[in-house]
């Protein structure tokens, strides 16, 4: 595992995901599930979608030093039809919100959303006094992973993506995703 300041054991322990596993009920991980989840979790292609500062850190995560592609986040896709995950990097305003919803709707199942940065999580610095900002992107689309920070470091994005991979690995084809 690639995160320096975090011990491997801590990374594996995650109460929330364990809960998720239990609450999932009739959890019968067949060989088919394992195979499908392995494939899906290791080829998550993000959509080229950035509205503000977090987009620059997303670019940095994709470039030479941090190299997203190690985790199978191979290529940025310009079309939502070819993308698996939409990383909402930056502020979503009231004018942009319908566009974001439309992009999400255009994506093919299975699709995931990562809310990157304070603006996407809650409105961030624009929570107070601003009349034009969506206070949390989860008002518009269902979010799988939240990454705090203003902007989050590329390492934080990598960690968020790894959490998403772990979440995908718990999926089963017998049950539809709850938030889809």
């Amino acid at each position: 595992m690639g995160i320096k300041s975090m011990k491997d054991q801590d990374f594996r322990d995650n109460e929330t995901l364990d809960l998720f596993k239990k609450e999932g009920g009739n959890f019968l991980l067949s060989t088919v599930d394992a195979l499908i989840d392995w494939g899906r979790s290791n080829s998550i292609w993000p959509l080229t979608f950035a509205t503000a500062c977090c987009g620059i850190e997303m670019m940095a995560a994709g470039a030479s030093r941090h190299d997203f592609a190690r985790f199978g986040i191979e290529v940025y896709r310009a079309s939502p039809r070819q993308a698996d995950v939409i990383v909402v990097a930056g502020t979503i305003t009231n004018k942009m919100a319908p566009v974001l919803k439309r992009l999400y709707d255009q994506m093919a199942e299975p699709k995931y959303v990562i809310a990157m940065g304070a603006c996407a999580i809650s409105g961030g610095p624009f929570y107070y006094n601003s009349y034009h900002v969506v206070k949390g992107v989860d008002h518009v689309v269902p979010v799988d992973v939240y990454i705090p920070g203003c902007p989050p470091r590329p390492e934080a994005l990598l960690y968020g993506v790894m959490q998403l991979q772990r979440k995908i690995k718990l999926e089963t084809i017998a049950k539809k995703r709850s938030n889809a």
């Binding site: 959509l47 080229t48 979608f49 950035a50 509205t51 503000a52 500062c53 987009g55 620059i56 850190e57 670019m59 940095a60 470039a63 030479s64 030093r65 940025y76 310009a78 939502p80 930056g90 502020t91 305003t93 004018k95 942009m96 566009v99 992009l103 610095p125 624009f126 107070y128 006094n129 601003s130 009349y131 034009h132 900002v133 203003c150 902007p151 470091r153």
Partner: protein, 373 residues
């Protein structure tokens, strides 16, 4: 609509399409409403407001030190320069003279920020033209600058290192050494940029003579920064109205008269060389002293109007403050370079192909949150 009524497009017919708000080559959420005739661009209408966050209005509720943190969310690629503009405006209004050490450090970080911004622009411009390798080359070198920033002030992108009266804290002991190391490194790497992209025949074909803009037009449209200087409009605030430590450094303003996409590209490449010159002149001479002047805990500006302009990586950035004597501004207006540089897009790209429009808008280097504020 009835199927019978749909007519096939002829070459003379105009049709309109939307480019954006989600489009990889609009660098954010800019929406361009295009009228095309075949592949030729006949009209470009930019639609703004997809990232309008009301920052100017928010500033009216905040104190002056707080507004600084909103300025770096405007043009996040030249965050430090924008922070400096508010600090300078407040300092000038209160007639505070900051120590020379502050001026030097501010200027050095300004120039590092400018290099980082131009590197990222180079990546994006290459990608707009279809050259993906530039992305990896540019960001490789940019990370080195971000390391210096991180060591100095703890942030990679949005520095917020300036406060009214100086800097938030002193520079790291390694700052000078690492900056010099970087300059040494980047002097070797910058010729690679030329070898990879500048001399490329495809790139030259696609940019030379494309998107011509005359000097008169540049002045009329208020173009500033590298696009303005590529048209021959001498508009460098660092030269004409020097601030911080720019009077202590010798450098020349990069000017071209051709005014096409290629020379907008050239100006930025040359500016990276020039920025390195400025840093080299200043880095060894950082004077000893305090890193900040002691300011009052609550900063109140005397009643009146204040304007301060700085040269951000994309052009002239201005802060206009109207104060009624309270701890927060009565009105704060930002003159953002991107908004003014967007205006000529129609005039530049009419009559060219739609692929040229991408190259032209790439050469103007838009940062959309700065446009919408």
């Amino acid at each position: 609509m009835d199927a019978e009524k749909i007519q096939p497009l002829t070459e003379e017919q105009e049709f309109s399409i939307n480019m954006g708000p989600q489009h990889p080559s609009t660098h954010g959420v800019l929406r361009l409403m295009l009228k095309l005739q075949g592949e030729m661009v006949r009209e470009v209408k930019p639609q703004l407001g997809y990232i309008h966050r009301g920052i100017e209005k928010m500033c009216e509720k905040l104190t002056y030190p707080q507004t600084i943190h909103l300025t770096d969310r405007l043009d996040y690629l030249s965050a430090h320069i924008l922070n400096e503009s508010v600090c300078l405006a407040v300092e000038n209004a209160l007639e505070v003279e900051v120590p020379d050490r502050v001026k030097y450090v501010r200027t050095i970080i300004d120039e590092l920020n400018r290099i980082a911004s131009h590197q990222l622009w180079w990546c994006a411009f290459g990608m707009d033209l279809g050259a993906l390798t530039t992305f990896f080359y540019g960001l490789r070198d940019r990370e080195k600058i971000l390391d210096i920033f991180e060591e100095t002030c703890g942030a990679r992108l949005l520095l917020s290192y300036n406060v009214p009266g100086g800097l938030m804290f002193d520079i790291h002991p390694n700052f000078q050494k690492r900056t010099k190391d970087f300059i040494k490194y980047f002097r070797k790497k910058l010729p690679e940029y030329d070898a990879l992209l500048t001399g490329n025949p495809i790139m030259q074909e696609r940019t030379k003579g494309i998107g011509y803009f005359s000097k008169e037009d540049a002045i009329n449209f208020g173009l500033s920064g590298p696009p303005g200087r590529a048209s021959g409009f001498s508009c460098d605030v660092r030269v004409h109205q020097p601030y911080s430590a720019y009077p202590f450094a010798k450098f020349k303003e990069i000017l071209y008269t051709e005014g096409d996409t290629f020379h907008r590209y050239k100006v930025r490449i040359d500016e990276m060389w020039e920025s390195m010159n400025i840093i080299e002149q200043l880095i060894d001479n950082i004077p000893e002293g305090d890193f900040a002047v002691k300011m009052k805990p609550v900063i109140k500006l005397p009643e009146g109007e204040y304007y301060q302009r700085v040269e951000a990586a994309r052009g002239e950035f201005g802060v206009y403050i109207v104060s009624d004597g309270n701890k927060n501004p009565y009105r704060m207006k930002f003159r953002s370079p991107n908004f003014c540089n967007l205006a000529p897009l129609h005039k530049m790209s009419v009559g060219y192909k739609i692929a040229d429009l991408v190259a032209i808008s790439g050469s103007l280097d838009f940062v959309v949150p700065d446009m919408d504020r």
